[in-house]
């Protein structure tokens, strides 16, 4: 029975990773850059909810809405100021380092405003826990909300990308920027939109993450960010279903290895699995293989 509850916990953690990984994978697909600041946008989302709900006493729904709006604006601003000028730069490393700079900036801003000590985040989820099989399996309200929001986001995003004009424009830009521009697509606006969606998802991920693990520091976002990035690579970076698979597999592996092998070695095991997958399938599980032309 404990195995099943571990599995459910794993899926719950994996759903959070999947939502974060979506932000990475969409941005990578369209702008071909690793957005290292994505993890810190999660932290900003968490702090916004903390500030609104715990410090100002606003209703949780309003707090979440505020966090989503703030993170969306933040994502667009970061892209406009820090990444857009470097899009045509000679080396793709330049924008990577700028992203690291943005990550430092967000962390230190949060450090200045909220201080270094850990904040106790009160969960914004009010759904009661479900008890199954004579109370041997307890599924917490946070878990239910996390898994449901992950499914809703996945379906919504897939529909958005495949059925709407803006989504089709995103696909076109990720395929070929130049050709998309010739077809009358506004490349800059499309990339901004991608950052906006990714950052809004980061705000939701921040809410879910902090509700499940209720401690908040300026560095809260960085390790889940890295893990979600690993999940995105694992599933094949640039692919939306890949992010879902990668996130959930990673979450399950992490929780199971924490439970059965060693809690200290859990991260090492997660990374080891990633390496093995990449060595067998160098572009991830659902990644497209690109033939190199001479």
């Amino acid at each position: 029975m404990s195995f099943i509850s571990y599995l459910i916990n794993g899926i719950s953690l994996g759903s959070v990773y999947a939502i974060i990984a979506l932000g990475y994978t969409m941005v990578y697909g369209i702008a071909k850059m690793l957005n290292f600041a994505h993890g810190d946008v999660i932290m900003v989302g968490g702090f916004t909810i903390f500030f609104a709900v715990s410090m100002q006493g606003l209703p949780p729904a309003l707090g979440i809405l505020l966090a989503v709006i703030l993170c969306t604006l933040l994502g667009i601003t970061i892209e406009y100021i820090a990444y857009r000028p470097l899009r045509q730069a000679a080396s793709s490393l330049a924008v990577l380092i700028t992203a690291i700079g943005v990550s430092y900036l967000l962390q230190n801003l949060a450090l200045l405003i909220f201080g270094a000590n850990t904040k106790a985040f009160t969960s914004v989820v009010t759904i009661p826990a479900i008890k199954l099989a004579d109370e041997q399996i307890i599924i917490s309200g946070e878990t239910i909300v996390t898994i449901i929001s992950c499914i809703v986001i996945m379906i919504g995003l897939t529909l958005f990308v495949n059925k709407t004009k803006a989504g089709q424009a995103m696909l076109a830009v990720s395929e070929d920027k130049g050709a998309a521009q010739l077809m009358g697509i506004n490349v800059n606006a499309t990339i901004s939109l991608t950052f906006a969606i990714g950052s809004a998802l980061a705000a939701i991920a921040g809410m879910l993450l902090c509700s499940a693990y209720p401690s908040l520091t300026p560095y809260t976002g960085s390790m889940p960010g890295i893990k979600a990035f690993v999940a995105a690579v694992f599933g094949g970076i640039g692919s939306i279903p890949g992010a879902l698979i990668g996130g959930i597999v990673l979450g399950i592996i992490e929780i199971l290895s924490k439970a059965y092998i060693s809690s200290q070695m859990a991260d090492a095991i997660v990374f080891m699995v990633l390496i093995i997958v990449l060595l067998v399938k160098p572009t991830g599980i659902l990644g497209k293989k690109i033939q190199e032309k001479v």
């Binding site: 820090a82 000028p85 080396s91 700028t98 900036l105 230190n108 690993v230 991260d267 080891m272 990633l274």
Partner: protein, 355 residues
């Protein structure tokens, strides 16, 4: 023509060595004049460590053209093997310098071997996938070191991955690597002079490699892999060569680092991906493939937070802003064009045109 080219390289190298030596002499004079605060003096050895790390990472990133985010992992290997050796041999080899040189060699060889073993499967991957796998390896190395327990008693070495009690040491036993507590009591053999000598040796190795036949082969792989392969360059061999030399030099930096500290622990701060990223920042800001730039960037960026110490809480914020602005200024195509238009050379040229 060929002769002039070579002499240009030599001249360039001499300038690089000269900068290091002059900086060393200036700092020595400052120390003897007593105008260097103890805080700054404590920063000198870490400065050497960062310079070696930046130069060695530039070999992978700038010369080989592969993005590695696991450099701190190799440093970690070097630091722990070197410190382990020194701790074991503390009473056997009593001459500090010989023991330290042996520790350096052991640290470098171990890091190099690990780099070779990791590089063999991993260098098949390209670009960002390689980056994420090296990041993963760095984290794995850090994690393993954190659960490693090694003790020594009259019966020999004992090894465990659980805790120090399960080592089953006898009463005379000595726990050398104590899991997350790391290694304590490493002899403090590092000093600034040794650090600078190691920087010079690192520069000698890297600069000579770049200007050798092998170095040109490595750079041809960076510029065009397929073309390099088609003219008969052994891709795997040269990639592995650059990668393991880079790892070995990171190991040297690690040994220098560990012998400067009384207690050595593998924390996310010193051997995690944050450290690897910081070294990468040095390399990219100093100019990818530019060795002298790496040195200068490493020194400036290490000193910057210390110089800003007066601003207390705002210093890391300013550091981040400086980093972003410098990257935009150095790399944005629009700003580069703007800088060209208003550069001194261009203004002189324009005034001549008017005449």
């Amino acid at each position: 023509m060929k002769k002039r080219n070579i002499s240009k390289n030599v001249k360039d190298n001499i300038i690089t060595y000269g900068i290091v030596i002059v900086a060393y002499i200036v700092i020595q004079i400052l120390i003897s004049a007593g105008s260097l605060s103890s805080l700054m003096q404590g920063l000198l050895v870490p400065l050497c460590v960062y310079v070696i790390l930046a130069v060695s990472l530039n070999l992978t990133v700038g010369i080989l053209g592969e993005l590695s985010l696991g450099h701190a992992g190799f440093m970690c290997v070097g630091a722990f093997t070197g410190a382990f050796f020194s701790r074991c041999m503390e009473n056997v080899i009593t001459i500090d310098l010989i023991r330290f040189i042996l520790a350096l060699i052991i640290g470098a060889v171990c890091a190099g071997v690990i780099g070779f073993l990791i590089g063999m499967p991993v260098l098949r991957l390209r670009g960002d996938y390689l980056a994420i796998v090296t990041l993963a390896f760095g984290e794995i190395i850090k994690n393993i070191v954190n659960v490693l327990y090694i003790g020594k008693d009259s019966r020999g070495f004992h090894f465990s991955m659980k805790d120090s009690i399960s080592l089953g040491l006898e009463t005379d036993g000595d726990v050398i690597i104590n899991g997350a507590q790391g290694i304590t009591g490493t002899p403090k053999d590092s000093n600034f002079t040794i650090g600078v000598i190691l920087i010079l040796i690192t520069l000698f190795i890297v600069l000579n490699l770049i200007h050798s036949r092998d170095g040109r082969a490595i750079m041809s792989i960076r510029d065009n892999l397929i073309a390099a392969e088609s003219i008969g360059i052994n891709i795997t061999k040269y990639k592995l060569m650059a990668f393991s030399i880079s790892a070995a030099l990171a190991g040297v930096a690690g040994v220098l680092y560990s012998h400067n500290l009384n207690s050595l622990m593998a924390t996310p701060k010193n051997f995690g991906y944050n450290m690897s990223i910081m070294i990468l920042v040095f390399v990219v800001l100093g100019g990818i493939g530019n060795i002298r730039g790496s040195i200068i960037a490493a020194v400036v960026l290490t000193l910057l937070p210390e110089l800003l110490r007066g601003l207390s809480n705002y210093r890391m914020l300013i550091y981040a802003i400086v980093l972003i602005v410098m990257m935009l200024f150095n790399w944005s195509p629009k700003l580069i064009e703007l800088r060209k238009r208003f550069s001194v050379k261009c203004l002189i040229g324009r005034s001549k045109e008017v005449q």
